[in-house]
């Protein structure tokens, strides 16, 4: 066996062991009975329902914001494009608490945006709507950048070909470019949804943490561990882990489905 393989395998095995250790510690922290009891508690179910509903709404909002943004950045050259790309990256690299702080000031009554919303009767801060704002903020960035990479890889000649076949730009996008980008877009959606499901820092800053009101699964983990209720914290953490695992399987399935090319015996008929 090559020495380099063994040398480079060591860090991989070491890090994999740490991951396995962390996951196993979480899974086996409670006895099956304790875990079942925590799973069936009203608070766990509330957190699960709120997390799924808010993250799905955020996902839809992120798609409406992210896909057109990605397409514009992938297809067109214009002044300030690099600045916009950097701005789009910002929510991905900014610490969530910092992003939350920025949103808190933006939506606060002292800011024109927050003031206008308040005058229109829209209360955002410290309401469930704030959870959606926080999740959309982080998920849109992930979806837009992943989708941009997908659209950029697409051969633009397909677009030209569609147009010579009589399709308008809009129909070309809907009938040709979107379906052709499906694999990358599904992966982008899954990544964006995963980001929304696990959002905590920005949510804490603009929505707060209130039991049975502003209590998504990550918030439930935080509240429970702060008050010493480790059973509930572990149950919510295990659910988040399971959701992340399911999303990973989803990405794998999408990749497998698209990479399976059926080879057919070719016969020429005259």
């Amino acid at each position: 066996m090559p020495a380099m393989f063994i040398a480079f395998l060591f860090p991989l095995v070491l890090f994999s062991s740490v991951i396995i250790g962390a996951v196993a510690s979480l899974l086996f922290y409670l006895s099956p009975n304790e875990l079942l009891q925590a799973f069936t508690s009203a608070e766990t179910w509330f957190a699960l329902r709120l997390t799924l509903s808010s993250s799905l709404i955020s996902l839809i909002a992120s798609l409406f914001l992210g896909i057109p943004s990605a397409y514009v950045l992938a297809r067109y050259r214009f002044a300030g494009k690099v600045v916009l790309e950097t701005l789009l990256d910002l929510p991905m690299v900014t610490p969530p608490l910092v992003a939350g702080l920025g949103l808190l000031f933006l939506l606060g009554r002292n800011n024109p945006v927050g003031h206008t919303l308040n005058n229109l009767g829209v209360e955002v801060l410290f309401t469930p709507l704030a959870i959606i704002v926080a999740q959309t903020y982080v998920a849109t960035s992930v979806i837009a950048r992943s989708a941009q990479a997908t659209f950029s890889q697409q051969d633009t000649e397909y677009r030209h070909m569609a147009m010579t076949l009589g399709l308008s730009s809009g129909w070309t996008f809907i009938l040709v470019e979107l379906p052709m980008a499906a694999k990358g877009l599904v992966a982008a959606i899954i990544l964006g949804w995963a980001r929304a499901l696990g959002e905590f820092g920005a949510t804490l800053m603009i929505a707060g943490a209130t039991r049975m009101y502003i209590e998504t699964l990550p918030v439930a983990v935080y509240l429970s561990i702060s008050s010493g209720e480790s059973e509930l914290a572990v149950a919510c953490a295990v659910i988040l882990l399971a959701l992340a695992f399911l999303l990973l399987i989803g990405i794998r399935l999408v990749n497998t489905a698209y990479s399976t090319v059926r080879i057919r015996h070719v016969e020429y008929s005259v």
């Binding site: 000649e157 397909y158 070909m161 569609a162 147009m163 009589g166 020429y268």
Partner: protein
């Protein structure tokens, strides 16, 4: 077309090319690789911005709405939409700008038969060989019955027998519908068979123009068809 010029970032690919084609006439573009044949075809398809004057029936190519231009373009790389099977690739071409009501199913069946691709209807492009892909793409291009047919090496991946059959079918279609056709080819026999005139390009310039040796010779065209022609033609 007159004084057509096209410049890429690096160099001038087309240099003052001027020629005109009568309706119903077919022209072959020949020349070494890199001489500008495909670029000229893309200009004619309205896919590249150019300097000069390029018109179809008096209207500037780049001003014509794509769906009204009546142009059928078959690129060298074919660009069959990979998420659709062959039948739906053709159906997509019939969705917009057809003007009058047509029977999509009939038109699809006819164009597939003409391109000898009926058996490929339900297959996706990834499942086809190079030659099959060419036949499927040709079927899609002719399905719209364009006034101007632009073909970039349409038969390069086909075996000799299929190739000559398709030459015949295409020539028959072009004549029957009085289509104007520009075909890029490296094959003198193919160019002579399909075209009334041959234009030679070298280094982005039009160097020679000559009449095809098969011009107006229906018997010679017939004699080149290896097998019986299809009963279907649009």
């Amino acid at each position: 077309m007159s004084n057509i010029q096209f410049e890429s970032v690096q160099c001038r690919l087309l240099k003052n090319i001027s020629f005109s084609i009568e309706q119903g006439e077919s022209v072959a573009l020949m020349g070494p690789s890199g001489s500008g044949k495909s670029t000229l075809l893309k200009v004619a398809a309205g896919l590249l911005a150019y300097k000069g004057r390029a018109q179809i029936g008096g209207a500037s190519i780049d001003k014509l709405p794509r769906h009204k231009a009546g142009i059928g373009y078959l690129s060298q790389d074919l660009h069959l939409f990979p998420h659709l099977n062959v039948e739906n690739n053709i159906r997509l071409a019939l969705l917009f700008g057809m003007g009058r009501k047509i029977s999509c199913s009939d038109r699809i069946a006819q164009s597939l038969a003409l391109a000898r691709a009926t058996h490929l209807a339900k297959l996706k492009p990834a499942e086809l060989s190079g030659g099959e892909r060419q036949r499927a793409a040709l079927a899609r291009t002719i399905a719209r019955q364009p006034n101007l047919l632009l073909l970039d090496e349409p038969f390069s991946s086909l075996d000799a027998v299929n190739k000559k059959d398709l030459w015949f079918e295409l020539k028959q279609l072009q004549t029957a519908h009085c289509m104007t056709m520009i075909v890029v080819s490296h094959d003198i026999e193919e160019a002579s068979f399909l075209a009334d005139r041959i234009l030679y390009l070298r280094g982005g310039e039009l160097t020679v123009e000559q009449a095809s040796r098969y011009r107006n010779s229906a018997n010679e065209i017939q004699s080149l068809a290896v097998s019986q022609p299809s009963n279907y033609y649009i």
